[in-house]
């Protein structure tokens, strides 16, 4: 296995990766986007620092609205501002937005086709000690089923920066899923990022399985792939940062090359990225798939790594899933 040249992957990724919270990339990206386009406004429900929206709020106080602990209103007000010509970004914890305000997002934002960008921070199990109430592990499912919604899950803070700027330039309602904890930096400024274009992270002459991951799980997938390669088992790793619209072309190409898939996400196994891929593949090119994610359970308090291990998304789980799917492929 080789890291893909074109992806310009961070050279310290396997030795001593730099760490940065994905939400910080969002905060910096929003500030940058705000500087480029005066139509961009930002609204927050009393979590400005936590979601890193404070960078925008400090730079452009006249374009920032603090709505207080009121996520339903957060979505509706943003829709109204968009109707009057603005490009609103709203932020809170994913559990509350798009969790609590799902109907307002569906009706006032998506049904109205308003270009509101929903940044859900503290998504996934890696929120850690806050426990199950604050671990959004259903958010991909509830956002991707809404017509018109784009769903983006950046793998690191650099990608979050690019995703934020990119989605500000689209007319679609967008859900940006952001993790709380410091996450290894995988990509670099030179790495390509395009909404709806999956990144193939590795090169291999004869890959047996494709591992498709999103968010912080891309790092685990790369580590697992390297471990497997050391034992002579070649795989391909895809950073599938855009869950909707799905990059069907790239995915189909790599699935045809390998004939077996492992998906990894910090989300319920039901309804998330893996389900989105399965919906597509069973109709076009059915192959064995192993899904890694939370298995119809709620989270709990713990350290992020501890939780990722407990709920079955660790490096060893990916390695095992690759062996399982390979066995099924060879039938």
């Amino acid at each position: 296995m080789k890291l893909h040249q074109r992806q310009a992957i961070h050279k310290k990724i396997f030795t001593n990766p730099e760490m940065s919270p994905i939400r910080s990339g969002f905060g910096e990206g929003l500030k940058e986007a705000g500087g480029r386009n005066p139509r961009i406004v930002a609204l927050c429900a009393d979590l400005t620092e936590s979601t890193k929206m404070n960078l925008f709020a400090d730079a452009y106080p006249d374009r920032f609205i603090q709505v207080g602990v009121a996520e339903q209103n957060l979505a509706g007000v943003a829709s109204g501002m968009a109707a009057a010509g603005k490009i609103p970004f709203i932020s809170s914890y994913a559990m509350f937005s798009p969790g609590r305000n799902w109907e307002q997002i569906r009706t006032t934002i998506c049904y109205n086709d308003q270009p509101v960008k929903i940044a859900g921070s503290h998504a996934g199990i890696s929120v850690g000690p806050d426990g199950g109430t604050h671990q959004a592990i259903e958010d991909i499912a509830i956002t991707r089923v809404i017509p018109r919604m784009q769903v983006i899950v950046p793998a690191d803070s650099i990608e979050a920066y690019k995703a934020t700027i990119a989605c500000a330039g689209t007319k679609s309602p967008t859900y940006l899923r952001l993790a709380r904890e410091k996450t290894p930096i995988i990509t670099t400024d030179r790495s390509p990022f395009e909404i709806g274009k999956a990144n193939v992270m590795t090169e291999s002459v004869d890959p047996q399985v494709v591992i498709i991951a999103c968010g912080p799980m891309v790092f685990n997938a790369l580590k697992a792939a390297r471990q497997l390669a050391d034992t002579g088992l070649e795989t391909i790793v895809i950073n599938n940062h855009t869950i909707k619209p799905l990059d069907k072309k790239t995915i189909l190409r790599e699935v045809k090359r390998t004939g077996a898939v492992v998906t990894v996400e910090e989300h319920q196994r039901m309804g998330g990225m893996g389900s989105a891929l399965a919906e597509f593949l069973v109709q076009t090119y059915p192959v064995p798939i192993e899904f890694l994610g939370v298995s119809d359970e709620f989270g709990q308090s713990g350290e992020p790594e501890e939780l990722v291990e407990h709920y079955g998304m660790g490096i060893s789980h990916i390695v095992e899933a690759v062996h399982r799917v390979l066995k099924r492929k060879r039938g």
């Binding site: 209103n73 509706g76 007000v77 501002m81």
Partner: protein, 299 residues
């Protein structure tokens, strides 16, 4: 603001009558939909579209227009009727296509289906948030001198949804003087009278507590509506809400004040006065003659 002349009032009253008639005709064709709310709000819709709003029906996206947000989307039969008579659509087309497949007149309004509709609505309690967003954005662009008003029409029962009060809090905090709420205080909802289902009173105090200016009026009196809108536009440091006391089903004796007519069209309403088979014909006659006896008093 100057008073309305008598002939202006008479014209508005006649317009409102046309709005009611078209509303009933469309509901009969549709065979489903809400009756009481639309009739109760016909006077206010007429006043807004034919006197208050800055708008160009033939240029619905005119950037300098006022905005009208209908939060309780289920009373859209009166919105469509008024808009059609104001020039946004063809009244004859509307009369036949309310709630039909492929029609601009969706069962609950959708902004993409009928240009001129500012926002899609139906799920209750979300309109005030969107109206607040619009008022904020317009003020952001123009500054405190903004004279583009955002009117948000709400039902009384939808105030039972907490999100309305989230929006009220924000509009109060932001001192959005270009936001004018109108609450249709008709006292009914699907399952009964509001004060039995979930009391709203003291309603004035609730709005005042969120730093709104409150005006209470008879929602069928054009002079009162006119004065209230004028006052709301003049108040500078606060958003204003007009609590409009209305009679649900206004103009049709068989439907007036009866919650059974909240969600039913003519032909499917309660049979306490007329059978379902008689309702449509009787309603059309009543609405066209101002209820027979009422006409002689009127004249």
């Amino acid at each position: 603001m100057r008073h309305l002349h008598d002939d202006e009032i008479k014209k508005l009253e006649e317009r409102a009558q046309e709005v009611r008639e078209l509303t009933i005709e469309a509901l009969i064709h549709a065979g489903s939909g809400h009756t009481a709310g639309p009739l109760g709000m016909a006077d206010i819709f007429t006043y807004l579209y034919f006197h208050a709003l800055k708008h160009h029906p033939h240029q619905p996206n005119w950037p300098e227009r006022d905005r009208l947000v209908l939060s309780n989307g289920h009373i859209c039969p009166v919105l469509y009727a008024t808009m059609a008579l104001a020039g946004y659509a063809n009244p004859a087309d509307y009369q036949k296509r309310l709630r039909k497949f492929g029609s601009p007149y969706q069962g609950h309004p959708h902004r993409e289906w009928l240009p001129g509709i500012e926002t899609s609505s139906g799920p209750l309690g979300s309109g005030l948030s969107q109206a607040t967003g619009m008022a904020l954005a317009l003020r952001m662009d123009t500054g405190s001198a903004v004279d583009q008003f955002v009117y948000c029409l709400m039902s009384d029962a939808e105030l039972q949804a907490g999100s309305t009060w989230e929006a009220a809090m924000l509009a109060g905090k932001e001192r959005l003087h270009n936001l004018i709420g109108v609450v249709d205080r008709n006292n009914i909802q699907i399952e009964g009278y509001t004060e039995d289902i979930m009391p709203l009173e003291p309603l004035r105090d609730k709005w005042e507590a969120w730093n709104w200016h409150v005006i209470e009026i008879d929602g069928h009196n054009f002079e009162a509506i006119h004065a209230a809108i004028g006052e709301a536009q003049a108040v500078f440091e606060k958003p204003t809400v007009i609590i409009a006391h209305t009679i649900p089903g206004k103009g049709l004796q068989m439907a007036e004040r009866r919650f059974g007519w909240h969600g039913n069209p003519p032909g499917k309403g309660p049979e306490d006065v007329y059978t379902k088979a008689e309702q449509a014909k009787k309603m059309l006659k009543d609405i066209r003659t101002l209820g027979g006896t009422i006409r002689s008093e009127h004249e």
